[in-house]
Every structure is written in structure tokens, then in C-alpha cells.
């Protein structure tokens, strides 16, 4: 029996999540980093709920963004042990399935973090966001998917560079600006009820998710082949 492309992508995601779950190196670092960002800004902005509400969307995505950078680096750092990535590239029937698996694993890790961070932020910033949680979750999924789609590709491109920890954010962050912008605006509208066209920002997120995922699937083999 032959395994399908989807099974291969799921195998990569499962493998990455197993490795991460067993070491917990990255999960702990991401959580610590995200909590620190929220704490520092809560002190900086003071107890004024109006200020905190207005900044909530931006601060939340700042925490996700920097934690996500750790996740992308880690996704490929897992592959450097025993030169496993070379072995994986040599045997992989569909190299694009490796990319899809990496995206799935990073999205799962980031969503896990977001599920912890959003309620924590609501408590820290004294925000009543509980009724908005389902919509906020939808925005988080779309934003995280777009961010992970491009991050998983750039993580592969920079993994063999000596200065990969520096190069990854430098290359990645400018490209993800549209996704981050859309996610921040949509989150702010959902969490604070700020005025704005939520549907337009969601459409932008969906469009960039589709573009980034398609580009990743189509170019990953070429990127790692070089």
C-alpha cells in the first residue's frame, strides 16, 4: 500500500509535535516569551482599561509573532540532529508534504500557545472578551496559518545559514506584514468592538493564506533542493 501526500504531511506534523512534546524546549520558551511581552506592556500602559483595550490586538499579535519566530527556528532545528533533514529529503516521495507538515505542526503549537495567552491577557488587562472568543479564535487561526505558511518556507531556506537566528526574522517579518496587519486589525475589531470592516480584514487574511500556502507548496522542493 502506498502512503498519500496527506498522510506524509500528517506524518511530518505528528513527528514534529512528538519531538516538541517530548523535549518541551520550545513550548516553554514560547510561553515565557509571550507572557513577558504581555506583562511588560501591561506595566508600560498602566491600569487604564481604555488604553489596554485599544492596544490589546497589537500586543497579542506581538506576543504571537515573536513566539512564532522561535517555533519556526525550532521546527528546522529538530532536523539538524544526525543530519536528519538530508535523510528526510532523500527518502521523501513528495517534498512538498514536508512543508505542509511543518506548517501544520507550527500552527498547532502556536494555536496551543494562543489558547493559553488570550485568556491570560483578558485577566491581566481586565478585558471582558469572553463573548468574542469564537470570532477571535477564527481570526487567530487565519492569522497563524498565513504566518506559519511563510515562516515554514523561510525556516527551511535559512536552516543551513550560519546566522540563521538573525536571518530568519530579517527575511520573514517584512513579508508577513500584510498578514500581521490584517490579523491585528481584525483582532482589535473582534475584541474591542472598534469600528471597521471585519469582513474585509478576514478576506485579506484568507487571500494571503491561500497565496502563501500555494507559494510554499510550489516552491519548497526548489528551495530545499538548492
Amino acid at each position: 500500500m502506498r502512503s498519500t501526500w496527506a498522510e506524509q504531511a500528517l506524518a511530518v506534523a505528528r513527528k514534529d509535535l512528538l519531538l516538541e512534546g517530548r523535549s518541551r524546549v520550545n513550548l516553554n520558551a514560547m510561553l515565557f516569551f509571550a507572557v513577558m511581552i504581555l506583562l511588560v506592556f501591561s506595566f508600560a500602559l498602566g491600569p487604564d482599561r481604555t488604553h489596554l483595550r485599544a492596544a490589546a490586538g497589537g500586543l497579542l499579535w506581538l506576543a504571537f509573532l515573536f513566539s512564532g519566530l522561535l517555533a519556526f527556528g525550532r521546527a528546522y532545528q529538530l532536523e539538524t540532529e544526525n543530519n536528519a533533514f538530508e535523510g528526510l529529503l532523500l527518502i521523501a516521495r513528495h517534498r512538498s508534504a514536508i512543508y505542509a507538515g511543518k506548517v501544520l505542526a507550527v500552527v498547532a503549537v502556536m494555536l496551543g500557545l494562543e489558547i493559553i495567552i488570550v485568556p491570560l491577557m483578558a485577566v491581566l488587562y481586565n478585558l471582558d472578551i469572553w463573548t468574542a472568543l469564537p470570532a477571535a479564535f477564527a481570526v487567530a487561526v487565519l492569522g497563524t496559518l498565513g504566518f506559519a505558511a511563510i515562516g515554514a518556507l523561510y525556516g527551511a531556506l535559512t536552516m543551513s545559514l550560519r546566522a540563521r537566528e538573525v536571518m530568519l526574522p530579517i527575511l520573514l517579518l517584512p513579508i508577513t506584514v500584510p498578514v500581521i496587519l490584517g490579523a491585528v486589525r481584525a483582532t482589535t475589531i473582534v475584541l474591542t468592538g472598534a469600528t471597521g470592516r471585519l469582513d474585509l480584514w478576514l478576506e485579506l487574511l484568507v487571500a494571503f493564506d491561500v497565496i502563501f500556502l500555494t507559494a510554499g507548496v510550489l516552491t519548497f522542493e526548489y528551495a530545499v533542493g538548492q
Partner: protein, 218 residues
């Protein structure tokens, strides 16, 4: 008899140093070819070029009928590195490798593969706790699962006891029956017991080619 490997004038340059210079060789179906040579003679580089892990700087040729720059199926490399994930168990490593290679294997097939290399008892143990010999055995099981037509082995006898050396030789003979095998080794004496052809490399150049015997399978 088909030609499995046919390369001409293959060279590889890293920066200013040439790891391989104008290597020309062939491997026919059923042939076991041993690459001998000191450290830095280019054995590993040649195997990695044939496996598709790196591209040649110059030269042309075919591996299993495809160009050196194509992706290739049916080739397996037992490299000096294990290619294993230390925090996965032996079973998980094999299952993952099989899935990625396009195979859907049942649990009993994975167990049988582990049993063949004497690791069935350690199926649920993480690789991190394995000795170098056990890792080598598991890498061997991983390569065998891929059922290659061209098997490339880089120092396959390193860290192995006599029983495991016999396992490597069995694998070589079984793959040679349906394709070809190239092994790079320092163990010239053992290589001569298993190989049909011995090619000696020195500083990236083929310096000698000896045909020892007719091939195992025609």
C-alpha cells in the same frame, strides 16, 4: 544486464578545494562495487552525489536511468550520519521513514524489520539511549525498508559487531540481486570478500580499478 550507475568526469569543488576530480565509473546490475581510499579521498562526496544529496560541480551521468541532477527514486544511502530522530523510538523512526518514502506499513512489518536487525526488544525505546552500534543497526533497518535498487553504503561496518556485519553483507547481497551496491570503506580486506569490483580513490581521483569476480546475479 542493465547499467545502474554510469558517471563520467564527475567533480565537486568546495570553495577552493576539489573533493572529486573527474571521476568516471559504472555499476552494472548485480554488481557490488567497493570504494577504497584514505580519509578525504572523496568517497563520501561521490556517494552523496549519487544519492542526490548534493549536486556535482562538473560531470554528467545517469543513476537508475535518471540524470545526476534529477530527483531519484530507488536509491538508498546509509550515510555516516544516522538520519535518525533521537527523541523518537526505534519503531517511530522506521514508521516515519516508511511513510515518507511512500510506503504504508503495518505494525507487524515494522516489528519484523526491527527483528531482522535484532532490535525488536527495543522497538519502544527512544534512539537517544541507543549505543552507536544499535543506531547503526536501526539505520540499516531504515535503509532496508526503502527496498532500494541502488544501495549506497558509507563505512557500513563502523561500530558493528560480527553479527551486524553479517546483516550488512546479507543486505548487500539481497540488493545486488535486484540492482547494484556501492560501499565506501576503509576495511579493504572485508570489502574484497563481498565486492565484485574495487575502485581506489585518492585525493578525488580514481587511481585503480580491480575486477575481482563475476557479479553475484546476472
Amino acid at each position: 544486464m542493465g547499467r545502474i550507475v554510469d558517471v563520467q568526469g564527475v567533480g565537486k569543488i568546495y570553495g577552493r578545494s576539489a573533493a572529486l576530480r573527474g571521476v568516471t565509473l559504472t555499476v552494472d546490475e548485480g554488481e557490488v562495487l567497493a570504494l577504497l581510499g584514505p580519509n578525504g579521498s572523496g568517497k563520501t562526496t561521490l556517494l552523496k552525489i549519487l544519492a542526490g544529496a548534493i549536486g556535482p560541480t562538473v560531470g554528467r551521468g545517469t543513476v537508475l536511468g535518471g540524470s545526476l541532477r534529477d530527483r531519484r527514486e530507488g536509491v538508498a544511502l546509509l550515510a555516516a550520519e544516522s538520519y535518525l530522530y533521537d527523541d523518537l523510538t526505534a519503531r517511530e523512526n522506521l514508521s516515519f521513514a516508511a511513510t515518507m518514502a511512500g510506503e504504508r506499513l503495518a505494525a507487524h512489518q515494522i516489528t519484523a524489520a526491527l527483528d531482522r536487525v535484532g532490535l525488536a526488544g527495543q522497538a519502544g525505546t527512544r534512539v537517544r539511549s541507543f549505543s552507536s552500534g544499535m543506531r547503526r543497526r536501526l539505520s540499516l533497518a531504515r535503509v532496508a525498508l526503502l527496498r532500494p535498487r541502488l544501495l549506497l553504503l558509507d563505512e557500513p561496518y563502523n561500530s558493528l559487531d560480527e553479527e551486524a556485519v553479517a546483516l550488512v553483507d546479507d543486505l548487500i547481497i539481497s540488493v545486488a540481486a535486484r540492482g547494484g551496491v556501492m560501499l565506501a570503506t576503509h576495511d579493504a580486506e572485508h570489502a574484497r570478500t563481498i565486492a565484485d569490483t574495487v575502485v581506489s580513490l585518492d585525493r578525488g581521483v580514481v587511481v585503480r580499478r580491480e575486477v575481482l569476480r563475476a557479479q553475484h546475479v546476472g
